[in-house]
């Protein structure tokens, strides 16, 4: 990691859990694991693309980065010099022997965005701006364009009052608008123009990093192309870094230097754009690529889609979280009792006759049925083709005792992110070998 450039943003094992509250007293009954241990770096002048389906936590990361949500766990560091990054990595590897404690302390107090205060935090806010997806709701309908774009300048007292308007015009010109647009309301503009106003507002304070949360998904292709070109030009002129959040793979391929693919709050694959598109390692990335119609040149190729719904992020699957939809799942993917129960959806009578479930952990459970016949039927069902072969193999023990069925699986650790041959990281048991 002997890079001469600064690292603008470094996410270290970031977690964001949202509590589920229930009842009159709003007792916390569970946690939605929206973001569950995400790490990646954004270098100066670099674009990192964050891809995934809706609900995978990509927008939550954007909000955490811009300081809109406090973190549950982990750290986000802002603007690290190469030496600091090395020191930080060293510190994480050898927790016990702290060589340069003063440097770590300095990093923590000046760069960790959840710990910095006062002027440092002010400085961070200036340098990290955001552009939202829906320009209808992110621009105040009652403010003029001149107010919207000059507001950051006023708040951060960047320029004198008499310079405000010339500076605002300058900003508007940079995004392809002009003087004539100053005294209009957002509703008088088209979608593409409103997105330009959002970008102008984000540029006002000359930030180092812009978080772009689906900036073009509400736009038509011809306008989308205009906005993407604009973002590209601005990056070249000002050396901006982008965190580009989108579900559109063809857009990300055009914009990003590095890609992070997320699934259920976890990174499943990360690496250079060319590597991931040329040789995707994780089955989820492969499925996403296959499902995007505008990426493949071969029109007739099968859009091999994924089966089934995304699992509940309040109870994410153990082991590999993608295995419930994975086309190439293995025995060692970490199958658990919930998988059997999910499969029972096709056997209504069986699932209706379950009286209680006693589950000490994810891999062991005692299911109590109303009749012993149902218990035997469950065992039969588990033996049939309804249950994938890999899952059947993973069952360690299944025994019927009267109305009860005891099921146990081999416990499996969460699959780690490992480096694959082409240098990208992927979280899959197949890559582990």
């Amino acid at each position: 990691m002997s890079n001469s450039k600064n690292t603008i943003l470094s996410l270290r094992n970031v977690k964001k859990h949202f509590p589920i509250k229930e009842g009159v007293f709003q007792n916390v009954v569970g946690q939605v694991h929206a973001v569950d241990g995400v790490s990646f770096d954004i270098g100066a002048g670099e674009t990192v693309g964050l891809v995934g389906e809706s609900g995978c936590g990509k927008t939550t990361i954007g909000r955490c980065v811009s300081g809109l949500e406090p973190l549950t766990d982990g750290d986000i560091f802002f603007d690290l010099t190469p030496e600091k990054l090395v020191a930080l990595e060293d510190f994480e590897k050898h927790q016990s022997e702290i060589k340069n404690k003063y440097l770590i302390d300095e990093i923590q107090s000046t760069s960790n965005i959840s710990k910095i205060e006062g002027d440092d935090f002010y400085n961070y806010r200036r340098n990290c701006q955001m552009v939202f997806q829906d320009s209808f709701s992110s621009l105040s309908p009652r403010q003029l364009v001149s107010d919207i774009v000059s507001r950051p300048l006023k708040i951060h007292k960047v320029c004198a009052d008499n310079e405000l308007i010339p500076r605002t015009i300058e900003l508007l010109e940079q995004v392809g608008l002009g003087k004539q647009h100053l005294y209009r309301f957002p509703h008088q503009f088209s979608g593409g123009q409103r997105q330009r106003i959002s970008i102008a507002r984000a540029l006002a304070l000359d930030p180092k990093l812009i978080v772009l949360d689906e900036p073009t998904s509400a736009l038509d292709v011809s306008v989308q192309a205009q906005i993407l070109n604009l973002l590209h030009d601005l990056q070249k002129q000002r050396g901006l870094s982008y965190l580009f959040i989108t579900h559109n793979l063809s857009v990300i391929r055009h914009m990003a230097d590095k890609i992070v693919v997320m699934y259920l709050g976890k990174v499943v694959e990360a690496g250079k754009t060319e590597d991931i598109f040329a040789n995707p390692q994780h089955p989820y990335t492969k499925a996403l690529l296959a499902a995007s119609p505008d990426l493949s040149e071969d029109v007739m190729s099968d859009m091999a889609a994924l089966d089934g719904p995304i699992p509940d992020p309040a109870r994410p699957p153990q082991g590999c979280s993608f295995r419930t939809r994975c086309p190439v799942s293995r025995t060692e993917c970490g199958w658990e009792v919930d998988d059997i129960i999910r499969r029972l959806e096709h056997h209504e009578t069986l699932i209706d006759s379950i009286k209680s479930v006693h589950q000490p952990d994810a891999f062991n459970a005692k299911l109590t049925f109303e009749t012993s016949l149902s218990a035997i039927e469950l065992k039969d069902v588990v033996g049939t083709k309804d249950i994938p072969k890999q899952m059947r193999k993973a069952i360690k023990k299944i025994e019927v005792k009267g109305n009860d069925v005891n099921i146990s699986f081999d416990p499996v650790q969460t699959v780690p992110l490992v480096q694959s041959e082409n240098g990208s990281l992927s979280r899959c048991v197949l890559a582990n070998k």
Binding site: E53, S54, S190, G191, G192, Q193, D220, V221, S222, V223, Q224, A225, Q226, L228, N229, H232, H247, L249, S250, V251, R253, H254, M255, A287, L288, A290, A291, S292, P293, D294, L295, S296, E297, V299, M303, A304, A305, L306, P309, E345, H346, E348
Partner: protein
């Protein structure tokens, strides 16, 4: 105008299911008439998938809604043209009708029965206050009372007043008196049979769209289902009566890519199995290319180019189509350099004559601003590939 359009009113080429000719739909506004759809003509070949592509506000949804007379009037206004449709009712044989001439009652019989529609946002199109069962059952109750009777085992078994009452009950037209009568025997036994018959029909329809566990899903409310499932329910509703024409108005825009792929597969598969014709409306060119046989590209209320999906993609002729295809970030482009179409879509309020694309066109000629280009075949050889541009007029 081609000569066959001058023929007698109700004629339609044998291989076509529907034909739109010079359709004009305007909307009143304070600034003047908005020409949303301004002289649109295209044909839908029987059993094929026709894609209607264009950007926001180009009039593609209005065109689709006109098929079912769903454009609200006022402010909407039909300013001309006709839509011929071949209704293949099994009883009466097929007949050609003009959809725009029908009365409210006549079009009501066709909606859901011969022409069905899938809307963009299933969350909004489904009624949040009714169970899935009630909403899908409505289609059968409205159009398929004989099927319901047969499924309930009551066909040809009822006579006189009883039959009248039962049919009223199925059609949900029963008033207070009949509803009360259905609470006491012997009508209450029929009620049970009819309800379970409807349940079976609904479950079958849901099963066809690969919804797991249909009898469970039936009892749920729309908010309990995921986006993909809701869209499947919509599709089940649409194909329940095996319509001749299915209009899909951006059915996958609100869905994730992986779910989108599933739903597309499903629509394609159902279309093949039932030999339904589909009018597929989308803003996504590359998606339409994947699933449609023919494409019509719309811009500012007019069709600028139409032809086979592959021809449109490989040899686009109209500058707008070329621009759209180049603006797609695809594998063949340099990173960071996209050929955007500069400028914005023109206002459609009382438009001037001349090509609508002229202000954004890179290849405009001197007379483009004066002459309205007509949709004409590009060559003598390929009659199906038509383009509306002066560049290709001799």
């Amino acid at each position: 105008m081609s000569p066959d359009n001058l023929d007698i009113q109700n004629s339609l080429d044998k291989d076509l299911i529907a034909s739109v000719t010079d359709l004009k739909v305007y909307f009143e506004s304070k600034q003047g008439m908005v020409h949303s759809v301004d002289g649109v003509s295209f044909d839908i070949v029987d059993g094929e998938m026709m894609g209607l592509v264009g950007e926001t506000g180009c009039g593609k949804s209005v065109t689709a809604r006109t098929f079912m007379q769903l454009v609200q009037s006022p402010p909407g206004m039909l300013a001309g043209g006709n839509i011929k449709f071949r209704s293949k009712n099994i009883k009466n044989g097929s007949q050609v009708i003009d959809l725009l001439d029908l009365s409210e009652n006549q079009i009501r019989e066709l909606r859901g029965e011969r022409i069905a529609m899938i809307f963009q946002d299933p969350g909004k199109a489904l009624n949040p206050g009714l169970t899935i069962r009630t909403q899908v059952a409505e289609v059968f109750q409205e159009h398929r009372e004989n099927d319901v009777l047969e499924e309930a085992g009551l066909k040809n078994k009822l006579t006189g007043v009883t039959e009248y009452f039962v049919k009223k009950y199925i059609k949900q037209e029963a008033g207070f008196l009949v509803t009360t009568l259905f609470k006491i025997p012997p009508l209450s036994t029929y009620k049970k049979k009819i309800d379970s018959g409807i349940n079976r029909l609904v479950a079958e329809a849901l099963e066809e769209t690969q919804i797991p566990n249909p009898t469970k899903v039936m009892e749920r409310y729309p908010h309990e289902l995921s986006g993909g499932m809701k869209q499947r329910v919509m599709i089940a509703q649409a194909i329940a009566c095996n319509p001749d024409l299915l209009i899909a108005d951006e059915p996958t825009t609100a869905l994730d890519v992986t779910v989108q792929a599933r739903v597309l597969d499903l629509i394609k598969e159902l279309q093949k199995r039932h030999k339904t014709s589909v009018l597929y409306i989308s803003h996504d060119l590359s998606l339409v290319r994947r699933i449609c046989d023919r494409i019509a590209v719309m811009y500012a209320g007019q069709i600028v180019e139409t032809g086979d999906a592959e021809t449109i993609f490989n040899q686009p002729k109209h500058p707008y189509t070329q621009g759209l295809i180049n603006a797609l970030p695809s594998m063949s482009h340099e990173r960071g350099k996209l050929e955007a179409i500069e400028g914005i879509v023109p206002e459609l309020i009382e438009p001037e004559p001349g090509c609508r694309f002229v202000s954004r066109c890179m290849r405009r000629k001197a007379n483009c601003e004066e002459i309205d280009p007509k949709l004409k075949p590009i060559s003598e050889v390929n009659k199906s590939h038509k383009v509306a541009c002066l560049l290709y007029e001799a």
